[in-house]
Symmetry: C2
């Protein structure tokens, strides 16, 4: 039997989630979380950069997963189609985690510092998409804007999904949001922009 249980980060994450739900984010101290996981404060900071980071353990692998998936899409696929394939794949991967995501989202909404951290998560995801598109020879500006739109759509789809019944399909929401975006942009295609 090993001296140390090998799932320290996971236990800390669970302890943090429970503590935040019970006492709120601000009124929970790191020593409390660590003790709940049977570890010390110092060990907490070996696994997480700060207190907020304990809520974002799962997101660390996402950027790499994005890159891996987009590399698997045939080169003939257009940029937009490629991104849509990626988002659809992400939907399928996330679909089963709804309860955990809902718990986390509720805590994030309650604390500005966590919303801030959540924005960084979205940003990093967008960066991964952008880089993968550039690897596929998409021009930098187009890659950037397309990645930004993709992340915006995905986050909005998640938000709507969490507001609906638990058995709702995330991918359906995503397609609806995507149509909204295109409709908005096309609506203003020919108006007076003073050019």
């Amino acid at each position: 039997m090993p001296r140390w249980s090998p799932d320290a980060a996971l236990r800390l994450e669970a302890a943090a989630l429970d503590s935040f739900e019970e006492h709120g984010f601000t009124d929970t101290t790191v020593p409390q979380i660590a003790a709940r996981a049977g570890l010390t404060t110092r060990t907490f900071f070996r696994h997480f950069a700060d207190k907020r980071d304990s809520l974002f353990l799962r997101d660390r692998e996402f950027p790499q997963a994005v890159r891996d998936f987009l590399r698997s899409v045939p080169a003939e696929s257009t940029p937009v189609a490629t991104v849509q394939l990626g988002l659809a794949s992400a939907c399928r991967g996330v679909q089963g985690w709804r309860p955990q995501i809902a718990r986390r989202q509720a805590i994030i909404r309650s604390e500005p510092a966590l919303q801030e951290r959540d924005l960084l998560r979205s940003h990093r995801l967008g960066l991964a998409i952008e880089q993968s598109l550039v690897e596929r020879d998409v021009a930098q500006p187009q890659a950037h804007t397309l990645a930004a739109i993709a992340v915006t759509c995905f986050d909005l789809a998640i938000a709507r999904w969490l507001d609906e019944p638990p058995d709702t399909d995330l991918e359906e929401n995503l397609l609806a949001v995507w149509d909204d975006v295109r409709a908005v942009m096309e609506e203003g295609a020919g108006d007076g922009r003073g050019r």
Copy 2:
């Protein structure tokens, strides 16, 4: 003569900017900034929520400015045209602040914690746009997506603007970015989305 100089926040902001440039963000302590401005640490935290906040003093008025401007746009203007008018106005207002913005941006780029805070700034700006659009009877989902696109375009235009010669026109960059976005979205309008 007043006992206290009335520009404490501005002096603290300047002291912080100088200190960050000289020693870096992490190696600058709040007492250092306060002393440089001729004030105490406690007073620093009366004007700023935290150390990072001292770089974002000017942005506090932006959301209200957005709302004020969008309320002045005629009701007949379409949502997209309204947003474009707002962005153009913002460009004209920002155009003269290029040196200060460049200094600040350089510091922000050097520190993840500041990038995070900068994302919150963008987010709040988007929220203000969204709310103003909803006031103009734009549907909530369309308002959200349009606001997100607007902020994305604006931030990208600023980034490109800072990379170009000092006399470049920000509004020209913005229009170019906007065209990119629409081109990207229309390119994928009729492809195989599996629907």
